[in-house]
């Protein structure tokens, strides 16, 4: 038997833009596969942000392509470091992967925890459902998967688990039965960007007024300057007496790979003196764009300037026919800012469990510490 293993040259999902060179390759491969009776296998990447693409196994040019799991994901590699993450895979009786759960594992002060990686909005469980599944079977299907995941988490001997789930995950009850806790958080989303006028019309009045008055004053441009971006961001955190939660090294690593994958764009605005006063870092795949990071120079007099960059990012996403995800924040001011763009709060789950006494104590110390700090004020 001949096996052809396809790398990422082969389209990974329907509608994936294919370059001329791969067209040619496809054609050759298509005929060769038929004549020589070859089994075609393509890597099944651990779904991260691009979960949708990998949900279906599909037929391409009459060639059926088998998914082969590959425990590599460049996003997780970049944000966690290659050795600090792994994935739990759940297979059905035919050895086909039906669910996966990537996780970032850390050891802090001797406490072993699974938590959200930096700059990553969702991890959690991704489930592949059989077609035409009845609702009552769906829930027990989810239950079986989640119980198995719980078993595998126990084997990891962690002290504490805490992950954010994608907003399409809505049934956490099996986790509840296994002693997990849950709370609802929100991300802000603009789902339909097909009619930009309508999107713009849903911005609140002050946003529209600001854009109208300032569109001509400032010039929004694209940049590759990640160092300036990081410096600006550092300044923003510093002004609030906070430490920037990610290192330049991490950002550079992530940026390099995102650039390679053509999956990011950086927008910037300069003031009259040519100093960059606001920047926005947008990540995208073929479904959605994500406002990953942004920052406004705390010394600038115009704090609304970010509005122009968000508007630019929305226009950019509309051209690419994407959903715009603000990557929600539970911080009131930030949520208000997003809401003013007409974005809809979309709930997603935060699920956690304390596995050991160590995990409990380290978890409890935090709120008490903050509680006393509040009392002291």
């Amino acid at each position: 038997m001949n096996i052809l293993f396809i790398s990422n040259l082969y389209p990974a999902y329907e509608g994936h833009s294919v370059q001329e060179i791969s067209y040619t390759l496809h054609d050759i491969v298509k005929h060769w596969v038929k004549i020589h009776n070859v089994v075609v296998v393509r890597p099944y990447f651990v779904p991260q942000k691009k979960r949708i693409h990998y949900e279906r196994s599909f037929l391409l040019d009459d060639v059926s392509v088998y998914n082969l799991p590959v425990l590599k994901d460049w996003w997780m590699d970049a944000v966690c470091g290659e050795d600090k993450w792994d994935v739990i895979l759940i297979k059905n009786e035919n050895d086909v992967i039906i669910a996966s759960m990537p996780y970032y594992i850390r050891n802090k002060f001797g406490v072993k925890i699974i938590t959200q990686p930096p700059l990553t909005q969702t991890n959690g469980v991704y489930i592949k459902y059989p077609e035409g599944q009845k609702l009552c079977s769906r829930i027990s299907y989810e239950k079986d998967i989640i119980y198995e995941i719980d078993e595998k988490l126990k084997e990891l001997k962690i002290d504490y688990y805490n992950q954010n789930f994608h907003y399409t995950f809505t049934n956490w009850q099996p986790f509840y039965w296994k002693g997990y806790s849950q709370t609802t958080r929100y991300t802000y989303i603009l789902k339909d960007l097909s009619n930009l006028d309508k999107v713009y019309g849903n911005f609140n009045k002050s946003k529209r007024k600001y854009i109208k008055q300032n569109e001509k004053i400032y010039k929004v441009y694209k940049t590759e300057d990640i160092k300036t971006f990081y410096a600006l961001n550092t300044k923003v955190f510093k002004r609030q007496n906070l430490k920037i939660p990610y290192s330049l090294n991490l950002i550079e690593k992530l940026d390099k790979i995102l650039l390679e994958k053509k999956s990011r764009v950086i927008f910037a605005i300069d003031d009259k003196n040519g100093d960059t006063i606001c920047m926005l870092y947008l990540v995208f795949d073929n479904k959605s764009s994500y406002l990953l990071m942004s920052g406004t120079d705390p010394d600038t007099r115009d704090f609304n300037v970010k509005t122009l960059l968000v508007w630019e990012a929305i226009k950019f996403s509309s051209q690419k026919k994407l959903i715009f995800d603000f990557e929600g924040s539970m911080v009131e001011n930030i949520a208000t800012f997003f809401k003013e763009f007409g974005a809809e709060p979309t709930p997603y789950f935060n699920i956690s469990k304390t596995f050991s006494m160590k995990g409990k104590v380290s978890n409890l110390v935090k709120p008490i510490y903050h509680g006393f700090k509040k009392l002291g004020k």
């Binding site: 609702l135 009850q173 806790s181 709060p345 709120p367 008490i368």
Partner: protein, 321 residues
């Protein structure tokens, strides 16, 4: 415009508001609060141009611990139907209202722990004021989505067989008005599981007398008049709720409970919009509802904990060890 306590003379106005509010239910009626708290409650309302546009029932107001009375599924915050408003306007309005309500609770140092209707979909204002939340589920059949044939088809094979078996037995489902008979079988069900019945006969008698028109008790009996099971349902303008039940251990496998549910689903089909099984977070009970093809509806449990309470929790964990 700000939050105020509802005056007793406005109880009818409140009830009409409950009827039109998407979050309203029988559990929020003035009379429900009266009976379930023994008159120890307040209702916070928010008026616009004199008209109530939001409300928050506060059971056991004198105790400082606002919590759900027995047999009460949900209360939470009720809004007028805001669906015609622009999204940002709706969010702003909800935030303003919730902040006003919370200000009252905080100034009177009331702790709060409550279930919300599943139409209440944004808890952020509570979060921003330091409250906590978790998601729970209720199981609902949406009559607007399915006719009876489809409901039957969507049910689990085992449940359908169990109903068929009960019909063949034959078991008859009929309405009963004998509350004492119901309480007896209900109590037996609890004691069989080593549990104390969480309410007294007087309590459900009060409930029954207050909401007589909205309550149906169905029982399933065989030809020798042995009662196999009984279910207690209560309805409002929107939904019917499965509130209590009881089954005779000797006839456990006769499928009586499933049959009563099915007959009740048929009975309420043209009367309300939703058949609500009143979710349970208990694993075995939940699977039962699921088998009727009911949809899982997530709802919010929202609560706040004082620092003292958090310290107590820690003490508990340490002592357990």
């Amino acid at each position: 415009m700000s939050a105020e306590f509802l005056d007793k003379t406005s109880s009818n106005e409140w009830n009409s508001f409950v009827d039109i509010s998407p979050q309203g239910s029988v559990f929020c009626y003035y009379e429900w609060l009266e009976f379930s708290t023994d008159n120890d409650f307040q209702i916070l309302v928010y008026r616009e141009n004199g008209k109530i546009i939001a409300g928050m029932p506060l059971p056991f107001y004198s105790t400082n611990r606002i919590r759900l009375p027995v047999l009460t599924q949900k209360m939470g915050v009720l809004y007028e139907d805001f669906s015609d408003l622009k999204y940002t306007t709706k969010l702003d309005k909800e935030k303003k209202i919730v902040y006003d309500f919370i200000d009252v609770l905080k100034s009177h140092k009331k702790s709060y722990s409550m279930n919300f209707d599943w139409h209440f979909d944004n808890w952020l204002p509570f979060y921003w004021r330091g409250y906590e939340q978790t998601t729970r589920y209720t199981y609902v059949i949406d009559y607007n989505e399915k006719d009876l044939d489809l409901i039957w088809q969507d049910m689990d094979q085992k449940t359908r067989n169990s109903i068929r078996k009960a019909l063949k037995h034959p078991l008859n489902v009929l309405e009963t008005y004998d509350l004492m008979e119901f309480y007896d079988i209900n109590k037996k069900t609890f004691s069989r599981q080593g549990m104390k019945t969480p309410y007294s006969y007087e309590y459900i008698k009060k409930l029954y007398d207050t909401f007589n028109q909205q309550i149906k008790i169905f029982k399933a009996e065989d030809n020798s008049h042995n009662v196999h099971a009984m279910n207690f349902y209560i309805s409002d303008k929107r939904s019917v709720y499965y509130l209590m039940s009881g089954a005779d251990a000797d006839f456990r496998s006769s499928g009586a409970q499933d049959l009563i549910h099915w007959k009740a689903i048929e009975y309420y089909y043209d009367k309300v919009g939703y058949f609500d099984f009143e979710g349970s977070m208990i694993e075995n009970i939940e699977s039962n509802f699921r088998k009727f093809g009911a949809i899982q509806k997530p709802y919010f449990h929202i609560y706040n904990k004082s620092i003292l309470r958090k310290l107590k929790d820690i003490a508990k964990i340490i002592l357990k060890r």
